[in-house]
């Protein structure tokens, strides 16, 4: 099939979201003297190609400044690409920003779109009118969001009085009232407590399963990806470093989890197979072991041989995984 062939629903045959050699170049002017300015080109996104099928839930990760936000901004029509071809639901986002807006939902984790001084419900009523959502559809979607995101008690509360977690749930509902086919989430769980995180994740899973909404999620929290996404894309310096399942990412990055053990007293570094001590601080020791491996046998072994007081497992953070991936690449 030709690459540009469009299917009946208007999406490209090659994928619901499709990028081909997309680049975004910024010209940065830096002050170097009183009136002197230095011009420098920054390639925020550099030859990016990928497709996402309808109904996929994809984690889009990378260190700060890797080009994540720039990509999302191009996919939502905020920014115009410098080069390449980009389609979302068959629409060129930068050319038809407003038409696209009806088909996408966007949640910026750190910037609420809700009306600060008005009750939560007022923001939804505005969306109802602004997006021209048919009454029945609006009712149905609102009821559903209210139920699943537990917003009933919050509808009449001014947004400024909501907690961060409540506001995030409110924002997610606001982005979904017009039945978007794609949902972009930028750090949806940042700063949320454990309970709120669980609620948000549960809701997104259900949304994806029931409505087959395509979800593209940027995050710093590996657990978001673990619990939601079957596929993860890693971007660094504007290029796609990895595209595949999360497990593969750990392999590719040879990432390690950390077991923090508190012993009864100060001891020399413990000796156990398949883990190495990376840090000792008084009675506390940090052990690194491969992320693919279960912690259970290691813990059992430690408990049997050493006077254990407490322990905890730390997941590798994305930055570390990517840094490691990069180091590998440089070596090979």
């Amino acid at each position: 099939m030709a690459k540009t062939a469009e299917t009946a629903d208007g999406s490209l045959a090659e994928g619901f979201i499709a990028l081909q050699d997309v680049a975004k170049v910024f010209e940065v002017r830096r002050k170097t003297g009183f009136l002197k300015r230095e011009r420098r080109e920054v390639r925020a996104v550099d030859g990016l190609s990928f497709t996402v099928a309808r109904g996929e839930m994809v984690g889009y990760i990378g260190p700060n400044g890797a080009g994540k936000s720039t990509t999302i901004k191009m996919l939502t029509g905020i920014l115009t690409p410098s080069a390449g071809r980009l389609r979302v639901a068959g629409i060129d986002p930068s050319r038809e920003r407003r038409r696209l807006a009806h088909r996408i939902g966007v949640v910026f984790g750190q910037r609420t779109t809700l009306w600060w001084d008005l009750p939560l419900i007022d923001s939804y009523r505005l969306a109802h009118r602004m997006y021209r959502i048919p009454d029945a559809r609006y009712r149905e979607n609102l009821d559903r969001c209210v139920e699943l995101l537990e917003l009933q008690a919050l509808l009449d509360v001014p947004v400024r009085q909501l907690s961060l977690g409540q506001r995030m749930r409110g924002d997610i509902a606001a982005a979904l009232l017009h039945d978007p086919e794609v949902l972009y989430l930028d750090e949806p769980t940042i700063g949320l407590d454990v309970v709120s995180k669980a609620k948000v994740r549960g809701f997104l899973r259900e949304l994806n399963a029931e409505r087959s909404t395509t979800v593209l999620l940027t995050t710093h929290d590996l657990q978001d990806i673990e619990q939601l996404c079957s596929r993860v894309m890693v971007i660094d310096q504007g290029r796609l470093m990895y595209d595949g399942p999360l497990a593969g990412l750990h392999e590719a990055g040879e990432s390690e989890r950390t077991l923090v053990v508190d012993l009864e007293r100060e001891l020399p570094p413990v000796v156990v197979p398949s883990a190495r001590v990376v840090r000792v601080e008084g009675p506390r020791q940090w052990l690194a072991f491969p992320a693919g491996q279960s912690a259970a046998p290691l813990v059992a072994r430690l408990a049997a041989e050493y006077p254990l007081v407490d322990l905890s497992v730390r997941e590798p953070d994305i930055e570390a995984v990517i840094a490691k991936m990069y180091a590998e690449k440089a070596v090979s």
Binding site: G77, T80, R111, Y131
Partner: protein
């Protein structure tokens, strides 16, 4: 603001498209402005006080001019009712423009903190959304004060009112509002390039409004020339008012220019629309 509608999209600027964009823009504007009015009502006492404050500030502004006239009989050859006529016209036009799109000066802040992006993902023209941002009914205070001064001056003026002069009154106010709106939009467009330029914009909007409160005869010829031919604020009140009052204009211009304000307003709005379009395009290609 309706004159300029949505001008951010790259596309076929067909007439139907423009009309549709204007309709969409006005619709979005009214919705958002309504939300802001309701937000303000969450702090009712504050609203009452700031409205009164806005009225009082502008009121004392005029008191200053009256005090000046307690010392002199004329300013640049113009009597108090005549200066009040200029003041009322300028104040009302500027007040209307400030009420409708005055918050556009906040655009730079929105660009800096990234909240402009949240407007760009909504299915409404960005210009309308930015214009309605922080819509504040308290700005009516300035309009009311302008109209009061204008009414007082008309009652005191010794003018032979012809139908043409009467017709010119509403035309002046509407065109003046259009010219000031264009200045606001052009200033906001400039803020896409220089995000901390809201003070530059204020110099033209508030500064221009204040300038027009005084007769052209008190200013240097070069300034009058600039305000007539470069930034055509003279068409807000100076030129049509000299016709109504039967006074000579410092520059030799044909009489018909007194009736040019609507044309000047439309041209200014069109230029401002193009500037806005260029500004938004540059933002979307460079980010913040």
């Amino acid at each position: 603001m309706g004159e300029v509608g949505e001008v951010g999209e790259v596309g076929h600027p067909g007439r139907g498209r423009v009309r549709e964009a204007v309709r969409e823009g006005v619709r979005a504007y009214l919705m958002i402005a309504g939300m802001w009015v309701r937000s303000t009502m969450a702090y009712r006492a504050s609203f009452v006080m700031t409205t009164f404050g806005s009225f009082a500030t502008t009121f004392f502004d005029f008191v200053g001019i009256m005090l000046m006239f307690s010392r002199v009989d004329a300013l640049g050859g113009w009597s108090l009712p005549e200066v009040a006529f200029l003041y009322g016209l300028s104040g009302t036009s500027f007040g209307l423009a400030d009420l409708v799109i005055g918050s556009m000066e906040r655009l730079g802040r929105r660009v800096r903190d990234g909240t402009l992006d949240t407007l760009l993902v909504r299915p409404a023209p960005v210009l309308a959304q930015v214009a309605a941002d922080q819509f504040a009914l308290r700005r009516l205070g300035r309009v009311v004060q302008g109209l009061l001064v204008l009414g007082w001056s008309v009652a005191r003026l010794d003018v032979d009112w012809t139908p043409l002069k009467l017709l010119l009154m509403p035309v002046m106010l509407v065109s003046g509002c259009g010219i000031f709106c264009a200045v606001f939009v052009a200033g906001a467009a400039f803020q896409f390039l220089a995000q901390d330029a809201s003070e530059v914009q204020n110099a033209f909007t508030y500064g221009g409004g204040a300038l027009l409160q005084y007769p052209p005869t008190v200013f240097a010829r070069e300034l009058v020339r600039g305000v007539t031919f470069v930034l055509p604020l003279a068409f807000v009140n100076w030129l049509p008012a000299t016709y109504v009052l039967g006074r000579p204009y410092p520059l030799a211009l044909p009489e018909w220019v007194a009736f040019a304000p609507p044309l000047v307003a439309v041209a200014c709005c069109a230029l401002a629309g193009l500037a806005w379009r260029a500004g938004l395009r540059s933002y979307r290609s460079t980010g913040s």
